[in-house]
């Protein structure tokens, strides 16, 4: 938690900045990775194929040693007169071997800034609420289910 708090504190300075007057340093990328991995840890495994609030999602990549999880967001960019939407791996910057090497690049600076802004405008709170909604849905189904199991025992 302490590490996450420090990483969040580092990202605080991006809140009011525009992409053209900021330089994303190595330490900023480290901070983004720490927070992204914290979010992945907080989202239970069974929701890893769901879309999280504000368009974030988790990608699972298989590799020789198991699976690696990335927190992603799509980023649109002009490319030869058309919009191109590419996933940005917030905790990227790695190359994984699974038959061949697949690289998962670091996010572009714009996405780092957007992520920092999202964090300071209630993203964590929204994820918590989203999680609570899923919990409530499941609890509702579980109540009926547990009643049936009890009936069966009686």
């Amino acid at each position: 938690m302490d590490k996450v708090e420090k990483a969040l504190a580092r990202l605080e300075r991006f809140q009011l900045k525009k992409s053209w007057n900021v330089r994303v340093t190595e330490k900023d990328y480290e901070a983004v990775t720490i927070v992204a991995e914290y979010i992945i840890r907080m989202v239970p495994l069974r929701y890893h194929d769901c879309i999280l609030p504000r368009g974030y999602y988790i990608v699972t990549a298989d590799y020789d040693l198991g699976q690696h999880k990335f927190l992603c967001k799509d980023h649109s960019n002009w490319n030869y007169q058309e919009f191109e939407s590419k996933p940005q791996y917030l905790n990227g910057g790695v190359s994984l071997h699974y038959g061949t090497y697949t690289s998962y690049p670091r996010p572009v600076p714009d996405v780092v800034i957007e992520f920092a802004k999202d964090l300071y405008t209630g993203l964590l709170s929204e994820i918590a609420e989203w999680l609570d909604e899923r919990t409530a849905e499941e609890n509702e189904i579980l109540e009926e289910f547990e009643k049936k199991l009890k009936e069966r025992r009686c």
């Binding site: 907080m42 300071y120 964590l124 999680l131 609570d132 919990t135 499941e138 289910f145």
Partner: protein
């Protein structure tokens, strides 16, 4: 660091804890249901289609035979602009690796499959299986 974001971190941790309790309830529930169904359905009906698309798959391994309660789910995926779908078997008591010459993985079921089983039990899956078994037995008696 702002106090607000600290509070948000605590809120997220609390939500995670609450969800963990639900997750434990789901896992315990699934284990109990799978045990009940595997006990209910005799081995001779393995590989038969049970109500609501469930079936039991018997897999031989070094120490005997492992019985899995399964259901097939359709999974959609995109490949170079084309959309495909395929049937994926969900092993409701999966999450094991069995050795029989080589290791075979039987992955844990997806969220959809787990919630699906819980919902099916709430809607009377046990009764449906019971009726299905009675029908099968009747037919067998008729056929001698």
């Amino acid at each position: 660091m702002k106090e607000g974001i600290k509070r948000e971190l605590e809120k997220l941790e609390a939500a995670r804890k609450r969800n963990l309790q639900t997750s434990t309830r789901i896992n315990e529930g699934i284990n109990r249901v799978v045990d009940i169904i595997l006990e209910m359905v005799p081995e001779e009906y393995d590989e038969h289609a049970l109500p609501r698309g469930y079936y039991i798959k018997a897999v031989p391994f070094d120490l005997g035979t492992y019985r899995f309660l399964c259901k097939d789910y359709i999974e959609y995926f995109d490949d170079e602009g084309f959309s495909y779908h395929t049937d994926v078997t969900q092993y409701l008591n999966g999450g094991v690796s069995l050795h029989y010459g080589h290791y075979m993985d039987f992955p844990s079921p997806s969220r959809e499959a787990r919630i699906g089983l819980i919902r099916d039990v709430s809607l009377g899956l046990f009764d449906e299986i019971k009726q299905w078994l009675q029908k099968k037995e009747k037919k067998e008696v008729q056929n001698g």
